[in-house]
Amino acid sequence: MTASLPGAGARPAPGFAPGSAAGTSPGRVQGPAPDSSPEGPPASGAASLPEGPGLSPCLLQVCGISKTMGGKLLLDNVSLTLGAGELKVLIGPSGGGKSTLLQCIHFLTPPDSGDVLLDGESAREMSRRNICLFRREIGMIFQDFNLFDHLTARDNVAVALRRVKGLAKKAAYERALSELDRVGLSSKALLYPSQLSGGQKQRVSIARALAMDPKVMLLDEPTSALDPELIGEVLKVIQDLHDGGMTMLMVTHQVGFARHITEEFLFMEGGRITERGSPEELLREGSGSRTADFCSKLSEIQGG
């Protein structure tokens, strides 16, 4: 496993140059700084990074992913990037390929073509064993929780810590309890999934993912299977994660929540990202965007 990239640009991924901004600033001719040793002078390394909001180092890069299943093209050359600490929201009609995209990013269903780079490392080129390592760096939250029904909340969180990360039982339980505490469920640690409400189940599943120390979280409609009054508790956890700097890609129909929290909307339809931009840009009155149209219909149904 590699270190995360505080000195981004030191290790450019093939076909992707975080320092490419250097090319756009002709003033900087002293030579290609990224070629210097990874230990290069930190000052110049930091300086080569363009400053300003929204230009954080790229953590996850999805390059031209396509996927065909059962003769149907579900993803058509989809690309996107996620910078560290960024939260982007995927919206769009059902069957548009949002869930498939998340599963392909995670290599749960490997894409037919294209690649996913996490910290500049290509998932495509990984062995079976390394794919397991790659997967544990990316947390996945499912619409219907997918908790392990035969394990308590604590064991749901601890099982991967013990079996995948190889922690001792005691250490795994301690970590599990602290993660459950983080999502406000320490008092429910010994209950089974069938004894929890939907919102609690989803929070356990978030704790389970967080315990693996993922670099990125993918959330697939985390609130769609919940009763309306339980949605808030899950959204609050997501808000806290975002405030804590977690990098996230979320599929959701909670437009009201999403537009306040995200920097960028990605609208997916027919297996492609057809529109992308900031919420203000896309949802502006009279923008005529498909996103605005879709969101206004959602808001009508959701009553605001």
């Binding site: 599963q103 995670h106 749960l108 064993r129 397991c132 390592l133 997967r135 544990r136 990316i138 947390g139 996945m140 499912f142 219907d144 929780f145 997918n146 908790l147 392990f148 029904d149 035969h150 099982v159 991967a160 079996r163 995948v164 209950l191 089974y192 069938s194 004894q195 599943s205 389970r208 993912a209 693996m212």
Partner: protein
């Protein structure tokens, strides 16, 4: 001989002896059958297609033919292979060809284990299929390997679902173990038949034997119910 005297001196000792033989048939058959059933059930649901097809064929054959016929084949049919081998390759092959001459006990356990395994694999298969695919995906997403998913997630969850069916099959096995009589085993039913035809007291003998079977089955039922309670997940409606 008075009735009580007959019970005390003849029937009960004979049945107790038969009971011991029955238990010696039932326990290994049930354990072997369950092992075969778990392996076959897992192979049919999660194995490579070629393996799954071979195991499907095994189940089709052993569920599709009468157990009596299978038993006869193992005991009376198989030695023909030995005879054939010896006539083809000479008596030197004896150590190998004798493997096909099963004792009545070996033939019974073989037949019961293979037949039971075919049925058990159906219960195991159903239980594995009932575990939602989402749990598999979640485990994969956490970085589990496929082997770990089977042993840590699928198997423990499926075992609880399969248990009622597995218990049912074991109870069947207890009763069809009486077929061992036709390959000359002196187990419970075989003993009864012998005593009944000597003393000509069929009704009493078979009634007594029925009580013996009922007692074994009741004990097995309790044991299985206890196991189910032990493994039950609180609040899960599918486990009562």
């Amino acid at each position: 001989m008075g009735t009580l005297e007959f019970y005390r001196a003849v029937l009960i000792p004979a049945l107790n002896q038969g009971l011991w033989v029955s238990v010696k048939i039932i326990v290994p058959s049930a354990l072997l059958g369950l092992t075969i059933g778990i392996l076959a059930g897992a192979g049919r649901t999660m194995g490579r297609p070629a393996l799954a097809r071979v195991l499907d064929a095994y189940v089709a054959v052993f569920r599709g033919t009468p157990l009596v016929v299978q038993l006869m084949m193992w005991f009376y049919g198989l030695p023909t292979v030995s005879t054939f081998l010896e006539s083809t390759f000479g008596q030197d092959i004896r150590p190998f060809s004798d493997l096909f001459r099963l004792s009545p006990y070996a033939a019974s356990v073989t037949a019961f284990a293979l037949c039971s395994g075919a049925y058990q694999s159906e219960y195991v298969r159903g239980a594995i299929l009932s575990i939602k695919r989402g749990q598999f995906m979640a485990a994969l997403a956490l970085g589990f390997t496929r082997g770990q998913i089977f042993w840590r997630i699928t198997a423990p969850a499926a075992a609880r679902r399969a248990l009622p069916g597995i218990g049912n099959e074991i109870i069947y096995l207890i009763k069809y173990s009486s077929l061992a009589m036709i390959v000359t085993m002196s187990e419970l039913t075989g003993q009864t038949k012998a005593v009944a035809s000597i003393y000509f007291r069929h009704l009493e003998c078979y009634l007594a034997t029925a009580c013996y079977y009922l007692a074994i089955v009741t004990a097995a039922t309790w044991l299985l119910a206890w196991a189910e309670r032990r493994l039950a997940i609180p609040g899960d409606p599918s486990h009562g």
